[in-house]
């Protein structure tokens, strides 16, 4: 028998054993695939908090399984297959690099639901994708950065030149410039998601250039640790998780990824039979992006301004990418009053006007 048919029959058996689908389920086995360790204090930690929230919400009606440190590629495919064979009803794959593996395994297990974080491929009806509008949080950070910088030099530790990261940089810069037209942005590309040593080097390089506000799109606390060595001269933000341990030091606010509402919702839909394939992209309004407490280092008026921006985004009255905005080369992108279509953001491969330097090609 061919492997494909074997797998299909195994999946069929699982489906029969777990009862009919459309009517909902008595019990759901929800499985999570993590790219890092659950103790990374950032990206994976937040996903695991979401998994724990699912357990909390449904108690005995769900069983949670997870696997840490799964490399992207062939290993992910094996882990996903093992999970599907092992009876998982819904599998959350929590890194962009799992995209092809998720779709490949989903083809073999049509009755298992797959949820891929931050990707765009939904090649099969049982694959959904979900992401968060982190650029909304970057707008709030940019506002604080523009107001707080004394040197008018702000920095950004970027991971990889993908749309997700580029839209964060653009949003951060646009909102810093809005409150401080003299602001200059330096971007350092670390080419990693999680590497405390490289992140610390990047922070050092920025500080040496005179940067006094650092934002990062990497997952460790190393940039904050580096900023802490400057005796308060340099401030920064928590990334992915609150990084509250630096509240007394350089951390003035944070962007918190909050996956719990989405995970609880999707598993709940599977339980009550209302589950459908979707492409979810929630932000501050949906509670997926939280702004961590703005500390007293930030003057009250700046804090109020940042919080007002957050509320406007939450209420839907303000979009962080509202024209007029030109691209870096001066060509127009958004006309006066026009807001960025999601498609433009998801494929973003250019800096906005005013940012110096090139995106690595």
């Amino acid at each position: 028998m061919k492997r494909r048919t074997l797998l299909a029959s195994a999946a069929m058996g699982l489906m029969l054993a777990s009862g009919a689908f459309a009517q909902g389920m008595d019990k759901v086995k929800a499985c999570f695939v993590y790219v890092g360790p659950i103790g990374d204090g950032g990206w994976t930690y937040q996903h695991h908090q979401g998994a724990l929230a699912v357990q909390e919400a449904y108690g005995d009606k769900v069983e949670i399984q997870y696997q840490e440190n799964v490399p992207e590629g062939a290993d992910a495919e094996r882990v996903l297959t093992q999970m599907a064979l092992g009876g998982c009803n819904i599998i959350f794959t929590t890194s962009f690099g799992y995209m092809d593996a998720t779709n490949a395994v989903a083809a073999k297990f049509p009755d298992v639901k797959f949820e891929h974080a931050t990707g765009f491929k939904r090649e099969h009806p049982n694959v959904s994708t979900y992401n968060a509008r982190f650029y909304e949080g970057r707008a709030v950070q940019g506002t604080i950065a523009g107001r707080m910088t004394k040197s008018n030099k702000i920095g950004y530790i970027a991971s990889f030149p993908i749309p997700e990261v580029i839209m964060g940089i653009n949003s951060y810069y646009l909102h810093a410039r809005k409150v401080n037209p003299d602001v200059q942005l330096s971007v350092v590309w670390a080419f990693t998601w999680f590497d405390p040593a490289k992140e610390a080097d990047a922070a050092k390089a920025l500080i040496d250039q005179g940067v006094d506000v650092i934002a990062s799109h990497t997952d460790s606390t190393a940039p904050l640790a580096e900023a802490a060595k400057t005796n308060g001269a340099v401030i920064g933000f928590g990334q992915a998780s609150d990084m509250a341990e630096y509240k007394d030091g350089p951390r003035v606010s944070s962007i918190i990824d909050n996956w719990a509402p989405y995970y609880v919702k999707r598993v709940g839909q599977l339980l009550d039979g209302t589950y459908e394939q979707i492409d979810a992209w929630e932000g501050i309004a949906g509670g997926e992006v939280l702004i961590g407490e703005i500390t007293d280092k930030v003057p009250a008026d700046v804090k109020a301004e940042a919080e007002a921006l957050r509320e406007a985004i939450a209420a839907g009255t303000y979009h962080p990418f509202t024209g007029p905005i030109n691209k870096q080369d001066g060509s127009p992108w958004l006309a006066e009053g026009q807001t960025a279509p999601d498609g433009d953001l998801l494929g973003m491969s250019f800096y906005v006007e005013g940012i110096t330097g090139d995106i690595p090609k």
Partner: protein, 359 residues
């Protein structure tokens, strides 16, 4: 008091007894670790060593063992040739990456041409990429007497940076909406390296691993070059009197191990991995060093060691997912294997003696 005494000649018994003893000690110490974590140690050990081969899902996992063992064996055999001669190529991970990039570049350059020659040419390009990357430490060593351990290791990080550049730049999928990663070879038949027999996990990389194992065995036991390699490792001075050029040997051993690592990378990128991506390399080049030593630097031993190592990965994942063991515990378990191997290995060259009278 016990003390260590050097054996006049290495013990043949311990040379071959070391790996099984190390495995048993790892199971015992690992079992204690798992028990201390509140898991049933017998269940964990069974999940790691038994279930992938004979358990409920063995029909799928057996093939996965081969997928995982193939590149380990191929790289480890190349490394073993050098290690035998006392040439320490620690940078197979980098050569693996460069092989994948070179081979994939050739395939992607001619996309979407369909021609039966494309895949073989890609294999050659992959081997060339690995060879080229290994030539840097080899030539620096023979010309300037640099340390090949350091240079080859450092070049791994250079290769990783080039890999990131490739996935976000020159090999990026033009239809990938700006996201990093090359085209997927699974949708390009002429350049793909699919499973040869469905359900077995065997692809061309596995075939290459077995063929290489046999060739390397013949080379080491029956061929003049194999004799020179062994002699250079055991008695460098004698080797020089015997007309062995150290420089030639360095270039040859580094080149062979680099080419094999490069081929492994090419087979992986066109097969199981499917594409060039930022995190394409997952440590095969480093794990292969353990495999080489676990297999006693003997090609046939390496084949067994490759499968054992694959078992700890695949079984370890099962234990982690099904029994809720943290990944770190599995890594400790794998680390113990090397630790006990090196510890027991002492008995090959030394023996314990009861010392009369304290020193």
């Amino acid at each position: 008091m016990l003390r260590l005494e050097k054996r006049p000649t290495p013990s043949r018994f311990w040379l071959y007894a070391t790996p099984p003893v190390a495995v048993i000690l790892t199971m015992v110490a690992g079992g204690i670790l798992f028990a201390a974590m509140g898991k049933n140690p017998f269940e964990v050990i069974r999940t790691i060593f038994w279930d992938p081969v004979f358990g409920e899902f063995a029909f799928y996992l057996r093939g996965q063992l081969l997928v995982k063992a193939g590149p380990l064996i191929l790289i480890a055999i190349g490394l073993a040739l050098g290690f035998r001669a006392g040439i320490w190529n620690i940078g197979a991970e980098g050569q693996y990456i460069m092989g994948a990039i070179f081979g994939a570049s050739v395939g992607l350059a001619v996309f979407p041409t369909e021609n039966r020659l494309i895949f073989p040419v890609m294999v050659v390009a992959g081997a060339f990429g690995g060879w080229l990357w290994a030539m840097i430490p080899a030539i620096l060593k023979t010309r300037f007497n640099t340390n090949e351990i350091l240079v080859s290791l450092m070049l791994v990080y250079v290769a990783e940076t080039i890999l990131a550049k490739a996935s976000t730049g020159f090999l990026k999928n033009p239809e990938g909406m700006g996201f990093p990663g090359s085209r997927n070879f699974s949708s390009y038949p002429a350049a793909a390296n699919p499973e040869l027999i469905a359900g077995t996990g065997l692809h061309w990389g596995g075939v290459a691993a077995f063929v290489t194992a046999i060739l390397a065995y013949v080379l080491l036991t029956r061929h003049q070059t194999g004799f020179q390699i062994r002699l250079a490792g055991q008695a460098p001075r004698a080797a020089r009197f015997h007309g062995v050029s150290p420089a030639r040997l360095v270039v040859m051993c580094m080149g062979l191990s680099g080419a094999m690592a490069g081929m492994a990378g090419l087979f992986e990128v066109t097969g199981p991995a499917g594409q060039i991506s930022i995190d394409f390399n997952t440590g095969y080049g480093f794990t292969a060093i353990i495999v080489a030593f676990l297999g006693r630097l003997n090609p046939l031993g390496i084949v067994l060691a490759g499968f054992l190592m694959a078992l700890t990965y695949v079984g370890g994942e099962m234990a982690s997912t099904n029994l809720g063991l943290p990944d770190a515990a599995i890594q400790v378990f794998q680390g113990m294997l090397l630790f006990f191997l090196l510890a027991v290995d002492v008995l090959t060259n030394y023996r314990f003696r009861l010392a009369v009278g304290a020193h």
